[in-house]
Structures are given as C-alpha cells and as structure tokens.
C-alpha cells in the first residue's frame, strides 16, 4: 500500500521549489509547471521505490528537468497546457524583473544555468551542486562566477554574494 500521506506532504512541500528550478532552466512557466506535474505523476507511480530514497526530491527534479528540456516534450506540453486550461491564463505571468533575469539565464550555457539554479534557488552548498552535476568543485565555482558576472546588471547585491 503506497504511503499516500507521505507523498501528499512531499508534493505540497517541494512543488514550489521544483517549479522555480525548472522555470529558471526553461524560461517558460506553463511548460515548467506541466513538466513538474508530470514528474510528480511518475513519482507516484513508483512511490514505493522513490519514496524510500534519501532524497526523493532529487529524483523528481531530475525527471522534471529531463522532461522540460526535451524539445519534443516542450512542444507537446504547450499544446496540452492550452487544451487543459483553454484560453484562460491559469499561470500568472511573473513580474518584469523576474522575466528579465530568466531571459538572461536562458542565454547562458546550460551547465552555468543549472549551477546557478541549484546554488541560488535551492540553496545547495557548492559541494552538493558539484555532486549533483557530476563536476569538480572548482568547475562549479567557475560556473557560478561566470553566471554571476553575466547577470550582474539584473541581480540584487544579495544575489551576487560569493560562493
């Protein structure tokens, strides 16, 4: 019998974080929400296994990221989002400042964007970012540094504190 309560708590507690992460990776909020939702559906289908992981959120994050970055998927999810929600805007547009930063992030190489999202958005230490992206700590620091430099005009001082 799958642990319904455990999954529900996990879903409620992590979905916002995950959405922010995927949105920063993709730059499209409706698409990010669709990918995140799909990842949770897959998580529930395997919850007897995924729920037992030390960090189930990492599993969902990887699945959601893979779904979101797939070109084929993104085209399909846009169509699905439209069909599901119709013309009504179910996902409010983020503010202008946020859109500016995300647009700038989209111009960065994927590894820099991922490092910035894991470090700033999810609050992971550099060592954990390195582990999750399978890169040396020094490389992660360099990616963060380059990413910060590229976004310097758009971010607040507190965003730019050194790793």
């Amino acid at each position: 019998m799958p642990d319904v309560d455990g999954f529900d708590e996990f879903y409620r507690g992590s979905r916002q974080r995950l959405l922010g992460f995927v949105y920063v990776l993709t730059g499209n909020l409706a698409e990010a929400q669709d990918a995140v939702q799909e990842a949770y559906i897959r998580a529930w289908q395997r919850w007897s296994t995924v729920g037992g992981y030390d960090d189930p959120e990492a599993w969902v994050r990887v699945v959601a990221s893979r779904i979101a970055v797939s070109r084929w998927r993104s085209l399909r999810s846009r169509a699905r989002a439209y069909l599901r929600h119709g013309a009504e805007e179910s996902v409010p547009a983020p503010g202008v400042d946020t859109v500016d930063v995300v647009a700038a992030l989209r111009r960065l190489p994927e590894e820099q964007r991922t490092a910035l999202a894991l470090y700033y958005l999810l609050g992971m230490p550099v060592a954990e970012v390195a582990r999750q992206t399978e890169a040396p700590v020094g490389t992660v620091k360099a990616r963060l540094s380059r990413g910060r430099a590229a976004l310097a005009g758009l971010l607040a001082v507190s965003d730019l504190e050194e790793a």
């Binding site: 916002q16 949105y23 897959r42 289908q45 983020p94 400042d97 946020t98 700033y120 609050g123 965003d159």
Partner: protein, 301 residues
C-alpha cells in the same frame, strides 16, 4: 536595482500565484494512466490474437476512463453515485466565483485538513483514516479579474460516501486532532536574501462552531502566524489569512468545505466590510450544503 528584493525572493513571490493540482488529482492521474496502460496492453494481446494489432496501435491516445462513472461495489443498497447536484452551486456562495473545477474518485481517503493531520501524526493521534467508497470534489476559483489581489480558490468542497459508522468515526478523529493540536510549530525553510533560511511556522486550530447543520457538523478555524526566521526571530512573510474548514454529515455522506485565502471575514484581519463571508454566513453555507447532500444521502432526508 529596481526593487529591494533578491531574484530568488521575487521569483518565489511571482510563482506563489500558480494554481496547483491537488495531490489526490496527481495520484488519480497516475492511477488512470497505469490503468490505461494495462488496458492497452490487454487490448494489444487480444488484438494480436485476433490479427487486428494495427487497429489497436492507432489508439494510443484513447481518453482515460472516467474515474467514478459507476461504482464497482454492490454490497450496500441505496444510492451510490454522488451527483453534481449534491454539491454546492456557485450561486450558493455570496462571493463572486470563476471557473468550477471538478473531479470524482473511488476509494479516496477522507481529508479534513492536511496540515492538522500532519500535526496529529506528530503528536501521536491514532491514525484512523477513513476511506470513502466514492467521492466528488469541486473547487470554485476566483474570477480571473480578482486573482491579482488574492491567490487560491474561493472554496473547495469534497463530498465522500462512507461506510455506516465511519462518519461518526471521522468526527471523533477531528475532536482528537483539535485537542492535540491547539497550537503546532512546524520547522521549515524559506527563500530569503538569495538563500534558504530556517523558519518556524505556528499553526493554531480551534472549534469555531458545531451542530449547525446536518446530522453532525463542526467548523474549524485555522489561524497561521507569520513565518519567523529561527535565527533572527523576525517574520519572513506576511501573516496568512484565516481559513475555515466545515465538516458536515448527512446520513452516509460527509462533506468537507474549505475556504480559500480571503474568503473568511475574520475579526483578526484588517479586511474591508463585505470582503468575505462572516461566520453566520458560513453556518448558512454549511446548512445549504447539508440540504444539497439530501438528494444523494442514505437514508434519504
């Protein structure tokens, strides 16, 4: 910088408005998909055996079967399906509402307040989760024009059909939860100034009213205090609005009505007049909900 907020804070503020599917809906979609996969696999085997595999292969987008079109049990006599008429209609609510979302389910756990139930688990309240035979849920969203000021729905309502005696068991559990969880502090984290800050969220529940509708009824008032940073003790977000959950039983039907942010006009909040439902209006709404349950309840009323 254009405003004194970090990117992370801004992003989370922007994303707070996003409407999420309820966990039960995520689980139901997963279940439907598993069922559809199994159905297609069985159909494929039959098709291969009958030499018509091509016809089946072209139907991979067959819509999922409705979750609760017809009940599968036969043990209990009387009415089984829960029709839409057994739920509140938008006209029953004084506030303006927008799109109505709905879903039906089978074998769903009766949920009163997930946060209160989490507290109960932590405080050792015996787990007596009541599983419904069938259920129907609806969420009344705000009109699109009002969503810029307030997030979340106006209210959500679940109607569950439960086995004899389980309705009373549910009310007993609610009483135990209220006794155990008058106040609960929940540790968490919150994005602040570019990083995640450990916070403590305080929740308070109280019985606001009881026996105001149907065979049994309770009204729970849930007040959350503003989250505080554990290190600095400062509030990190505004105080969330008061939320009310009503549980009403009529025969074998139990309905749980939960208000959304800003739906309740509460004395502790600095809300303009007529901006939300007063407690007497909520009682009336509970009685209306009980009246609507009558069309589908066993025994009839």
């Amino acid at each position: 910088m254009r405003e004194n907020l970090s990117f992370v804070d801004r992003l989370h503020r922007d994303l707070r408005e996003v409407r999420w599917a309820e966990p039960a809906e995520i689980r139901a979609r997963a279940r439907r998909r598993s069922r559809r996969t199994a159905t297609l696999a069985a159909a494929a085997v039959l098709a291969v055996l009958s030499g018509s595999a091509y016809a089946v292969a072209g139907r991979s987008e067959t819509p999922a079967p409705p979750i609760a079109a017809t009940p599968v049990w036969t043990a209990a006599p009387g009415r089984a399906e829960i029709p839409q008429e057994a739920l509140l209609s938008p006209g029953d609510v004084r506030l303006k509402t927008g799109v109505r979302l709905g879903e039906a389910g089978l074998g769903e756990t009766v949920r009163v307040d997930p946060v209160l139930e989490s507290c109960g688990r932590e405080r050792g309240v015996p787990a007596t989760a009541v599983t419904s035979r069938s259920s129907r849920s609806q969420t009344l969203l705000r009109p699109a024009a009002d969503r810029s000021a307030l997030s979340g729905p106006v209210l959500s309502q679940d109607v569950y059909r439960v086995d004899p005696g389980h309705g009373q068991l549910l009310f007993g559990t609610v009483t135990l939860l209220l006794r155990a969880c008058a106040e609960w502090q929940l540790a968490g984290t919150m994005p602040l100034k570019g990083g995640m800050v450990p916070t403590v969220n305080t929740h308070r529940w109280e019985l606001s009213d009881s026996r105001f509708a149907g065979d049994e009824s309770v009204m729970l008032r849930h007040r959350s205090l503003a989250p505080r940073s554990r290190a600095a003790g400062k509030t990190t977000e505004p105080t969330p609005p008061v939320e009310v959950t009503m549980v009403v039983r009529v025969g074998d039907l139990v309905t749980v009505i939960a208000t959304g942010p800003g739906t309740v006009k509460d004395a502790v909040e600095d809300a303009p007049p007529d901006s939300g439902l007063s407690y007497p209006e909520l009682e009336t709404l509970g009685r209306t909900a009980a009246g609507r349950l009558c069309v589908a309840a066993n025994p009839r009323c």
